[in-house]
Every structure is written in structure tokens, then in C-alpha cells.
Amino acid sequence: MTGPLLPLDADLVVKARRLAAKAAEPVVELARTHTTVSVERATLRLAGLTGADPDGIPWVNRLADAVQEQVGIEHGIALPVFHALKDFPDLERLAHAAAAGGVRFALPEDAAAEAARARASTAVGAGFDRIDASRALRSKLVGEIGDPPQRPWIYLIVATGDIYEDIPQAQAAAKAGADVIAVIRSTGQSLLDYVPEGATREGFAGTYATGENFRLMRAALDETSREVGRYIRLTNYASGLCMPEIAALAGMHRLDMMLNDSMYGILFRDINPIRTFVDQRFSRQVHARAGIIINTGEDNYLTTADAVEAAHTVTVSQLLNERFAHEAGLPDELLGLGHAFEINPEVPESFRLELAHALLARQLFPDAPLKWMPPTKHMTGDVFRGNLLDGFFNLAGVMTGQSILLVGMMTEAVVTPWLSDRDIALQNVRYVLSACAGLAEDFHPPADGFIAGRANHVLGEAVDLLGKIVDDGLLNAIADGTFGIMKRPADGGRGLDGVAKRAEDYWNPAASILDGVTE
């Protein structure tokens, strides 16, 4: 992408990336040497295990729990599971028996181990075949139907709680101009240590992410894509305690984008930092394999911290997200790094500051499909003023060449979704996109001007902060409240009991495939 030009200090840019890589290194090492219950369950999902017990607890949980109890997860659960499978017709029957307490799990040795390895590799390989087939089908459909004619892509949210009501809403939204549909998850799903099963009709301010809901919505949007002549992309959330499993489900059901931030779960959901980093690396590897664009969550920092004072924390987080993503195999064109229009409109020159911050991101990550997030913090309930603010947000997005634009709603946090407000918001986007289509071409802030100065200033602050993070260690920085004010120690938070250091003999066929290890 050729964005507008902004003279950034090239040495600072190099330094920023070097520091980000250094800060990420110990955390990547942690991720490589640990596993989690969700990584192990994702492996079972790739091997084709679906369904849930009568209480709605998925069979992957029942089976993984039984193995964890008997032999632990530090060796990887694939060997004990596929060893036990020799006495059962399929994984589901094994899970039933394990849930009833009728299976003795053990780590097989020698020939028995070889046989179990072979069974596991074949089963998990079939899951990757499904992911590869989904990716190929996406390419084919995009080729046949076509991409949206304009950038930024217009990203719209649906969230009724009922997948069967979401579907017509999503189809209507696509017909009204949306290029990307995000189905917001039920509030609190990120804190569930299992992925609900099947089509769901009740949610809390959102709809549960389930494999079946993914399948239903993707099929409906395929239909609509053909009608509107644009491939409509589908987005969900690979975040929370089940990040790796949801990533696997998304890959197999051809979701196109997934929200997946390196630190969001830690900071905003109080999920244990180590759990998050281990789960995140696996899920990003799956996304890389599936050709899924990740969306990072830098916008969230600005909802809790001041958007001017904390502007550089967004840049730091983008650089860290980029580093973690690259390490997990994601190329630039799959990095939907986030940032947001959240400066208090009462601040003088707020729009110039927004332009500076947005251009900084555009210039730092020229090939990434940046996700531009609308104002939420300063949406007061005055819908008329909110509509104006959204107009300025849209204008900044067009002027600075953003790639994915989340449509701002003037009723943010009051009523979502509200049909006529969505229509007015889309009208706002369409007006700005049409009126200012090529404006980025004409927008070259002078090298000695306010915008260039501010962008370089924020970059400088980001480099200083990265330096401190490298000195302290990223986990300590998170514990000290460096990002988004919240303090999250490495030994606190939810989900730590589902983390284990990998044993010497750890084996996971999914991890081997994703790491490119030849057996």
C-alpha cells in the first residue's frame, strides 16, 4: 500500500523494531516451552472431536480433563489419548468412556507409542487439510466474486445473541454496504474455559462463538456475497481462555478475520499472562496457516487511558503485536493492527493529533491492513454530536489511508444494534468515502509541521518505553501497569491452573506441524 508520506526518523524506526524483538524474545521462549489445556483441546478439535455432554460441556474438555487428571498435560495429551483410542471406534466414544471414569490413560512406549503417534498425526493432519481447503476455497471465492471496490473496507458489527437473528441482520448489513461482518460474542465468553457447542439462540449482548454458528453464518454470507458481488468477510474473536480452540474452529469453518491481541486478555479480562502468551502463539500459528487476518486490540488501551498521553503505548503494542505475529508466521498482509480515534474532542487540535497518530501507524506498518476504530469513550449519548464525531473519524480514516474501518455508532454503549442508527452511520461513511475518495493523494503534511512533529514525538516516546520494557522484562511491565493502567502480575489472573511447562518428551502433532518440525 502506498500511503501518504510522513517523514519519520528512520533510525528510530529501526531501533523501535529491534527493541520490540528483544522485549518479545523471553515471552516467545515461554510460549515455546509451555502448553495449556486449550492448546491440547485445540489439538483434539483438529483431530475432529466435536459435541458436548448433556450439560453442554464439550467432549474435548471431558477427554482433556480426564487425561490431565491421570497423566497431566506436560507430555501433550495426544499420545495418551491416541494410545487409549486403540480400544475405541472413535474419539467421541473414547471421550464418553473417559468422562464416565472408565479409561486408564498412560504414556505409551516403543511400538505402542509409534502406533499412537501415527494415529494422532493422521487425525490431526485431517484437521489441517480442512483448514487448507478452507483457505483455498476463500481464494477461489474472492477470485470469482471479487474484493470490495474501495479501501477502507467497511466493518460492521451484529450482535443479537441469536444466530438465526444475526444471519438476516448480517445479510442486511452487507446489502447496506458492509464488507466485513463481525459477530460480537456473548459478554463473558472469553472467561469460559470451554467453547459452547452447536447453534445458539441466547446470548448476553452478543452471540456465542461456536463451530456451528461459524458454519451457519459463513454459509449465509457466501450466499449474500454472490448477491452483492463482493466477498463479505466474516470476523469473530480468538481471545479469552479458549483462544487456540476458537482459532482452530475459525480455520476449519473459513472465518476471514479474527480479533487476536497479544495482551488484551491479560489487561482487560484478567487472564493469566503466561496462559495468554502460550495460547496466543498457537492461535496465531493457526491463523497464519488459515490465511486469517488478525485484528489487534490497541483501541482498548485508549478507552481506559488518555488518548494523547498514552498514544505511544498504542505504538508499542502495535510493534509487539507485529513481532509476536511475525514470529508465529503471520505475514504483514494478515496483520490488522488496531488503533482508534479516542482523543477527547474538547482537546484543542484534537483532529490534527488524531491525524498524526493515524499517519504514524500507517507509515510504520505500510503493508499491514490497519484497523481503524471509532470513538467510544467520548460518545456521550448526544447522538447528534456523536454523528459529527464519527464523520471526523471517517475523514481521518480516509485521509490517512486506513485499511479496515469499523463503523462508528453514535449510540455506542446505549443500544446496540439500533437499526436506524446503523443506517445513519453507514450513510456517514458512504458520504465521506465518496466525497474524499482520493484525498490521501493530496494530503502531505509538511516535514516541519505539527503532524510530522507529533508523529515523531510519539515514536520517540514509544522507543523510550520499549527500552524500559526491555530492561524490566515484558511480564514485569505488564505487572506494573504499563499498558492501559491495569496491573497484571504473571502469577495472577484466570487460567493459570491450565498451564504446564512442557516435559522433555512433550509431543503435540499440531504443534509439530505448525512449527514445521519434521518427524
Binding site: 459478554t187 484478567d270 454503549a413
Partner: protein, 248 residues
């Protein structure tokens, strides 16, 4: 002076209101007639339909102006007026130090799945809101901010461990009345866990709360939009320092 009022459009007493809504019907003459009929039933006299626009195939959006036939008597309006004196940070500190003789402990959190800490942070963080410093700035208040998405049982345990005099809970997300459910759950948990004389003062805040619903939700006080840290601090001192002094 008359205490009876009507809405104001451009002339005193004209009663004019502006209203927008969507009907689930395709845009045609009948839809516009239906919009005007609805306006009439809502008490708008001579309603003008100034804008009608299809949303998709099966919905139509309308903007209507009209004179309402309803009146409001200001004397009959019931609101929760401030029933305690407003104090400066210094007055709050002096009162706590002089009359309580120890620091007053405040535990704050966003409960349930609400991740929007903007409200609780505005009240508690030293940074405060609109130029007014938050409760952390008050020397005689000990503030424990648990942050976002605190489970109710965790909040109760922390409140007990910290010896909280007051618990402040902020709720921003209101979809499907989440703020009301969460608040009821929270107050019930405190009632179950502690006898009345050991229960901390329960205060909730958020932009869409009805300030008169405190009893119904089982809390001591509700603060709605526009609340400043000093309002909360003044209330805490009023209830925890002065009221106890009177009782003693």
C-alpha cells in the same frame, strides 16, 4: 411563575418535539400514513413528517416534528436531590481524620463482565475527571481499585479482607439490563456474606442508572451521569463519618 411546562421549539408554549423512529414496513404512502398515525397516538398534534427513508427493503426510518398535547407540572416531578453537604477534598480529609480517627477504606470495581473502567477510574484514579481529582488524591481515603470484570464473590472477599467501609461499583454496559442484574447480584451477595452492622456502604454508579432505584437494587446509593469524585467523597463522609457520629 407557572410551574407547568411544555416543550420549546421556537416559541414559548409551542410544545414542539422532534422524534425519529423506524417502522418495519417498506417505504410507501401507507408507511408514511402509519408514521403520522403513530405520532398522533403519541400525543403529537399536527405532526409533520419531514423525512422518510427506506432502510433495506422492509424498514422505513422517519423524522417527525409536532406539538405535544402533554404538559408537565414541575411540582409533581420527583428526583433525588443531594441530601448531604458538598465538601472540598480538604473538608473530606479533615472530617475523616478528626471524627473517624483512621483512614476510610474504599474498594472499587467494575463487576460482572463489564470491561469499561472509564466510570470507576474517573471517580477513583488520581487523574480524576474534568479537572477534578479522583478519590486516590484524598489523603484520608485508602482506595483499592480492583479494575475490570471482577467476579462478585471476589469483590465480597476483597471487601472483607480490606475492611472496606464502602464498596463502589461501576456499570457502563446496559445491554439487556446487565447493569441492573449485576447490581442486584452484588447487593445480594453482600447481604448473604455479612450481617447488616458489618456490611460496607454499597454505592453503584453508571450513566444509565435511575438514581431513585437504590432500594429496589438493594444498595445504599446510586450515582448517575455527571457525578464528580467530590460528590461521592462527600456522600461517603456524610454517611460513614457524620451519620455514625450522630448515631453514637
Amino acid at each position: 411563575m407557572s410551574r407547568i411546562v411544555r416543550p420549546y421549539g421556537d416559541t414559548t408554549g409551542d410544545g414542539m418535539v422532534q422524534m425519529s423512529f423506524t417502522l418495519p414496513v417498506p417505504h410507501d404512502k401507507r408507511a408514511e400514513g402509519a408514521a403520522l398515525q403513530l405520532a398522533a397516538k403519541m400525543g403529537l398534534d399536527g405532526a409533520m413528517l419531514v423525512h422518510a427513508k427506506p432502510i433495506g427493503e422492509n424498514y422505513t426510518f422517519f423524522v417527525v416534528y409536532g406539538a405535544t398535547t402533554h404538559l408537565v407540572n414541575l411540582d409533581e416531578v420527583q428526583v433525588v436531590e443531594r441530601d448531604y453537604p458538598h465538601l472540598s477534598p480538604k473538608e473530606v480529609n479533615d472530617a475523616v481524620r478528626g471524627k473517624l480517627g483512621r483512614k476510610l477504606t474504599v474498594v472499587g470495581a467494575c463487576i460482572g463482565t463489564d470491561a469499561h473502567t472509564v466510570g470507576i477510574d474517573a471517580i477513583l484514579n488520581i487523574k480524576g475527571v474534568a479537572g477534578e481529582k479522583g478519590l486516590e488524591y484524598y489523603r484520608e481515603l485508602r482506595v483499592v481499585n480492583l479494575g475490570a470484570q471482577v467476579a462478585v464473590p471476589d469483590l465480597v472477599n476483597r471487601a472483607v479482607d480490606e475492611g472496606a467501609d464502602a464498596v463502589l461499583v461501576s456499570q457502563v454496559v446496559t445491554q439487556k439490563d446487565a447493569h441492573l442484574h449485576n447490581t442486584r447480584e452484588m447487593s445480594a451477595a453482600f447481604r448473604e456474606a455479612l450481617p447488616p452492622n458489618r456490611r460496607p456502604l454499597l454505592v453503584v454508579g453508571g450513566p444509565r442508572f435511575d438514581e431513585s432505584a437504590a432500594a429496589e437494587l438493594g444498595v445504599d446509593r446510586i450515582f448517575s451521569r455527571g457525578t464528580m469524585p467530590s460528590d461521592v467523597a462527600s456522600y461517603l463522609v456524610h454517611r460513614l463519618v457524620f451519620a455514625k457520629e450522630e448515631a453514637a
